[in-house]
């Protein structure tokens, strides 16, 4: 059992840093705990409370809004970036670097930058939209646009996943395109019938990772809006954070975390299950 010895740090890490906190969420979720002293057992009271808490439902609504927009958009944007990176031009490396860099730049710094770019009076973005005769929008200060703004901002991070799509594009054998050309297929048809089916495994990966990241979105909202205006960007992760670390409602926050885990795991399992209907694993 030498192998077990080698992986033993991970076994410890898996139980200590993943299994323990996931179960502890359900345990702590049944206590009244402020972070000091001992948690007091209160059964399902936190869950009863949160079902009647309109802010909880707002945070769930906001989170789903974000995931439902950001994940499909993220797939489209990442594929578009990958196609751009894959063009056979001499300076392709330069494009690849420029498209990729925003995705490794720290999100907190980019978020601060975007507060300024999206500023309703002095911001670059409204200035540029002005050329299209779009009136100035208070992106982060208007509850109708704030979630959308965060969804759009997140697309600057698409470079990371675009590189995975790029690798998948490069792995497509060229004879498939040649055959399609012989059949008289144009660029669009080749993309639809050859490229896209062969990208489906990567799309599956992107969707599952994207759903996880989306359900747990925190940093842009914390930095740019702090959940506002009028709680329109109060995402579940921010709601958990505020309850646990600002309001001292640790038990309540754990109850929400537990539910967030269940939602995340359920969506991941459903996505996997659905993959047999739309993911193509055969290259030929």
């Amino acid at each position: 059992m030498l192998g077990l010895l080698f992986i033993s740090p991970w076994i410890v890490g898996f139980f200590l840093f993943l299994v323990y906190p996931v179960f502890s969420n359900f345990h702590l979720g049944m206590t009244d705990y402020s972070g000091f002293g001992e948690p007091a057992w209160i059964g399902f009271k936190n869950y009863q409370e949160l079902f009647h808490d309109s802010l909880f439902w707002t945070s769930i609504y906001n989170t789903f809004y974000y995931v439902i927009l950001a994940v499909p958009l993220g797939v489209v944007v990442a594929i578009a970036l990958a196609l751009a990176m894959n063009q056979k031009v001499r300076e392709a490396r330069v494009y690849r670097a420029l498209l990729y860099i925003p995705s490794i730049a720290p999100a907190f710094a980019l978020s601060m930058m975007l507060i300024w770019i999206l500023n309703p009076r002095y911001g670059l973005f409204n200035f540029l939209l002005g050329f299209l005769h779009i009136p100035a929008i208070d992106w982060l200060g208007d509850r109708r646009f704030s979630k959308l703004a965060i969804v759009l901002v997140a697309q600057f991070g698409a470079g990371q996943i675009a590189l995975i799509f790029l690798a998948a594009l490069k792995a497509i054998p060229s004879h498939l395109y040649d055959a399609a050309s012989l059949d008289g297929a144009g660029y669009l048809r080749k993309f639809w019938y050859v490229t896209l089916p062969l990208l489906t495994p990567t799309i599956l990966y992107d969707v599952i990772i994207g759903v996880g990241l989306g359900l747990q979105v925190f940093v842009p909202a914390y930095i740019m809006t702090d959940g506002g205006p009028l709680n329109s960007t109060l995402f579940a992760a921010l709601y958990i954070y505020k309850n646990a670390f600002e309001y001292g409602r640790v038990g309540f926050a754990a109850a929400v975390s537990g539910l967030l885990f269940l939602i995340n795991a359920t969506v991941a399992v459903i996505t996997f299950w659905s993959s047999k209907y739309w993911v193509n694993y055969n290259i030929d």
Binding site: G3, P9, G13, P21, L28, R93, M112, Y222, F261
Partner: protein, 270 residues
Amino acid sequence: MLRVFLVAMSLFYISPIYWMLVTALKSDQELSQFPPTLLPQAAVWNNFDDATKAFPFLAYFGNTVFYAALVMLGSVLSNFVIAYGFSRIKWPGRDLLFYPVIASIFIFIQFPVNPITMVPMFALFAKLGMVNSYLPLVVPTFFGNPFFIFLLRQFMLQIPTDISEAARIDGANEFQIMTRLILPLAKPALVVVALFAGVGAWNDFLGPLIYLHDDKLYTLSLGLTFFKTMHGIQFNLLMAASCLVVLPVVAVFLLFQRFFTDGIALGGGK
């Protein structure tokens, strides 16, 4: 035509970072001009000086380097040994035990600190008296990270098994094979892990936010947020400080471009 499109797309993507630099160099008056000037009329390099004096930039820079270095060390050491056990040794149940690793990636790509586990983990570290130190951020990285295990396993599976067999026949034990034979061959993948781990720590916001309370311990991510609440209106200074935080990441990327791009392709492979 294609080039016009590619250039436009690239410029759009790099625009936030370009704008960060331009804004950092603007004077207070120029900052409040509309329409905004696309190049600073007179570059105010002093903004960088003022920004680094407005908060303990160097101390926070040092803290962040310290944090990133420890995370790199922990990540490379632990994930190499773990991935070795998942790829270079045959044992019953090995591939079965790999499923939880994959499952963990999907929900916990942000590891170890993420919104789902942060409340109980904080409570646990508080009980252990480790809050307000780097321990809760660094110690977990010595116990493996599912994404890095996956990445290294993929890489090490590609190394032919014959060379390990030959060494075994020559009487080498597993530890010797790992350190003398496989370690040098796995170096490119280990560099990838080191880079991702280092950049991840550098960019980490949630972890420091939860665990570092004493402002002497702040990382740049916290320092910048602190700076924003103090001098929020002076966006040129805030952007000057932000530039200094982003720049090292961009520099590391440009120096090690190959490793980043190949490493990600490896991580996405099936």
